[in-house]
């Protein structure tokens, strides 16, 4: 039920966002590629939100020791990883016409890449552990440390080098478009998260049944 509402909201918002991005928002001097940003920036935001959810759910798991929180954390991490991947790809596609290269070791690209690697490691390590409680404990530790690492990564790399465009005073229509776009992706995040969580809970149910049969 919740999922159906989320699906409806995301669809409507997506249509509005598409209209605003392509027709409503004015052309800027950077040209047409600039419109990538209306999706690129929200993706980054939501990836960050997703990893924040992982962080909180990880703390909750270590505190309460309820496997439910592990399902929250791992589901959110997966959606966050998908979003980070898309964010990296769109950033790269933007960089080619703008900077002439697919990849440059710019601050945000590098920090996002490191972030991506941390959560890839999160899933690799999950796959190495078969005992449920241990997997939940270890991935919670990684979820906490990984998230704490993010600000340090960002600060360091910012000090190191940056070529990233800064957001300057914007046309109100641009701001409005960006806002709608962020709302769209937030709804999409919650939709995907809810789907993944429901699945995770089914998986757990299945495992419990299997454990019961084994006895």
């Amino acid at each position: 039920m919740k999922i159906k509402i989320l699906l409806g909201v995301s669809t409507v918002l997506m249509l509005v966002a598409l209209y605003m991005v392509f027709i409503f928002a004015p052309e800027t001097e950077s040209g047409v590629v600039q419109r990538i940003f209306y999706f690129h920036i929200p993706l980054a935001w939501i990836a960050f939100l997703a990893f924040f959810v992982v962080f909180v759910a990880s703390i909750m798991y270590l505190w309460k020791r309820d496997i439910k929180w592990d399902a929250f954390a791992s589901s959110s991490a997966e959606v966050g990883l998908v979003f980070t991947t898309l964010f990296l790809l769109t950033g790269s596609i933007w960089a080619k016409p703008e900077w002439g290269v697919w990849w440059t070791w710019d601050s945000r690209l590098t920090s996002s890449l490191i972030l991506w690697l941390i959560y890839i490691a999160y899933f690799i390590i999950r796959s190495y552990i078969s005992e449920e409680g241990q997997r939940a404990r270890f991935s919670s530790v990684i979820g906490i440390i990984g998230f704490i690492d993010v600000p340090i990564v960002v600060i360091t790399i910012f000090l190191w080098r940056t070529a990233h465009p800064r957001i300057e005073a914007m046309d109100p229509r641009v701001t409005a478009t960006l806002m709608v776009s962020i709302a769209t992706f937030t709804a999409l995040y919650f939709l995907l998260f809810a789907l993944r969580l429901a699945m995770k809970q089914d998986e757990d149910k299945l495992n419990r049944l299997k454990a019961f049969l084994r006895r």
């Binding site: 590629v33 999706f39 999409l188």
Partner: protein, 47 residues
């Protein structure tokens, strides 16, 4: 402007990525449901 191609590519990547993910999820979900139903069935029979 030939940059339009890049814009197009970026959007294609986003849609393709999201749809693949959703597809993978629903596929997995269906498989899980099937497994659970099968298990419940066998449990009932064994009782």
């Amino acid at each position: 402007m030939d940059n339009l191609g890049y814009l197009f590519a970026a959007f294609a990547v986003i849609w393709a990525g999201l749809f693949t993910y959703i597809l993978v999820l629903t596929q997995k979900q269906r498989q899980l449901r099937r497994d659970i139903d099968w298990l419940k069935e066998t449990l009932k029979k064994s009782e």
